[in-house]
Symmetry: none
Subunit: 204 residues, 4 copies
């Protein structure tokens, strides 16, 4: 019975998180009421509170999920033998972002956006965001380091700074996609490639 119960508990939690994710993607953290989540999850109020102590705990759970969504991918990318160039990495990530966003059950990038806003005054979410994004940016640092080894990136620059810029392109992509709706992985990669190839020839 313990194992069944443990699985059961996880399944229920997941059910609630999915319901909440759906609601929050639609209406944000604050316009989403517990009544919404309860209705959407198909459970009762008491049941939901049996799995999460509070609304904040549910919010933290979905924020975690939304903020982790991109990171999963990098485990795969980095584990490949062939190191990716900045442009390749960007392309792969953006494709993944779009694919993930379009999954049924609610656009996680919308939820991520809520999490960014929330992290400004919610220490719990801020901590999660810092943790996830530090890890994520570290992947870009690795990308930068490899490019320096390749010689495609000057070696006298701090790879952390390059990572800041590369990682920093993601929020811009996500925001423009949600707000203006006219960016695509293709358009963005094209723009990036133009910039990467924009400089005068490297000094020998």
């Amino acid at each position: 019975m313990p194992k069944v119960t443990a699985e059961h508990r996880l399944a229920r939690r997941e059910q609630i998180v999915q319901a909440a994710l759906h609601c929050v993607a639609e209406n944000g953290f604050h316009k989403t009421t517990m009544a919404d989540v309860i209705r959407e999850s198909g459970l009762s109020a008491g049941a939901v509170y049996g799995y999460f102590r509070s609304k904040d705990e549910i919010i933290a759970a979905i924020a975690d999920q939304a903020l982790s969504a991109v990171d999963e991918l990098f485990e795969g990318i980095l584990s490949t033998e062939d190191p990716l160039s900045p442009a390749e990495a960007m392309r792969v990530v953006l494709d993944h972002v779009v694919k993930t966003a379009e999954r049924s059950g609610g656009d996680v990038t919308r939820v991520g956006l809520q999490a960014w806003a929330e992290s400004v005054h919610n220490p719990t979410i801020a901590a999660v965001a810092r943790e996830k994004y530090t890890i994520l940016r570290t992947h870009y640092t690795a990308v930068a380091r490899r490019a320096q080894l390749d010689g495609t990136l000057p070696s006298d620059v701090d790879p952390e700074h390059v990572a800041q810029v590369l990682f920093g392109m993601l929020p811009g992509f996500i925001l423009q996609r949600l707000l203006l709706g006219d960016v695509t992985p293709e358009s963005y990669t094209a723009g990036l490639n133009a910039l990467l190839g924009s400089a005068a020839p490297r000094r020998p």
Copy 2:
């Protein structure tokens, strides 16, 4: 009392907007109560509602202000004779962002972040955001076009796509600054310059 009133009304509205901005920068749109804004503004409830019809109207006003903050600058930049390069534009803008953010009375970038999140489910703010950011991005399109004329950017790329990427670096900067706190205009510009100078020599 006509003359007094016109100025007075504007001053009062500004007073309320400043109070609200301060509160929202601190606590976000939803944790900011009208009671907070009323207290912070030093006015009475009735007075505040004499200038704004609802909390939503106040939120729209500060969202507008926060979303416009960067754009003001560009009027100045673009009016100069000397067109700026992408890197120069980025440097100037980031300096401005930081300076604006550090102004007393509340970090507008925090408010901007709230506005991004809100625009997902608030049509009024979404409209403002779209308007402001379309204009802002257009400035970057101009920067890209000039770089193409200079020959520092390939001429066979859509300058809109370049603008997507350049403009798209701002949210990333703002988000990292608020969340991780370790990006500066210097570090970001260094990373960007490294990327700009990273490609193989242009094909002749």
Copy 3:
């Protein structure tokens, strides 16, 4: 100056009462705000409060006016040499009610209706209503007495009781006119006449 001022004061009070009457006929006592009255009167808040101490005082003034509207007429009717029969009195009064109600500036019967409702829990208006309606009903007592002298009404009945019924037809007429809109002085008088002529011949 005193006389001019006195006239002026009265004119202003009348201006305010008319404005209030108009608003109340439209929206009732409670949905009518002082702001409505102030706007409709064309005066300023301060000015209005210079002529009436409170909203209740204005309400009392228009209630008085509305409750007196029918009574004015009776002075005329009763002062005639020729006493009216119940049916004649009813016809004259109903015509007057309709004519008064249709005067521009707000249907006084609507205001009267508000006054009835208000008098249930507003002692001031209750007192006014009692006073006005006692006088009004007394006129019907006179009508009944004359009919008894005529022999058109049994002499062994208390004329007060007849007056209750005759006077009591007015609220019913007013209410049906406002609510159902299908009663007219003609239809009502026809129905009344049928009832008056309905009985078997008087026992000798």
Copy 4:
């Protein structure tokens, strides 16, 4: 818990309506606050709003109840074999009105009076009032028709017009009872009988 719930819900609604009726009979619709109803009902704010969506909905419910109070009776009267004469009908109805008004829990005639006033500017209540009073007046039309068949009422008169007058006596009775306090079913019936028997013998 289905069965319990269905009954329970109705009982709770009734509990709230009774509380509201009591308050409104005392203070009218507008001086009655939700806090009053909540206190009087013995429930919490949330509970009350679980059964009614708004104060207006509660008002509509008690207006409905008050406006229906007289009508219930007629079902009984009309279903009797023996058709009632106008005078008999009036006597029965007035007795019922007084008995209903004196029931503990708030005088419904006071609430009816509020409903009349409210219907002038509240379409929902106006619709209910029109519906209920149209039905109620139709009963009087039936009374008039029977009297015409009896020969106690001229057959050349529109029974609708007679119904207008007969039905129209009720508001007058109710209003005088509340306002002046000196009418009784006895006095009113006496006055009515005097009028009914007042005419000269019918022309042959």
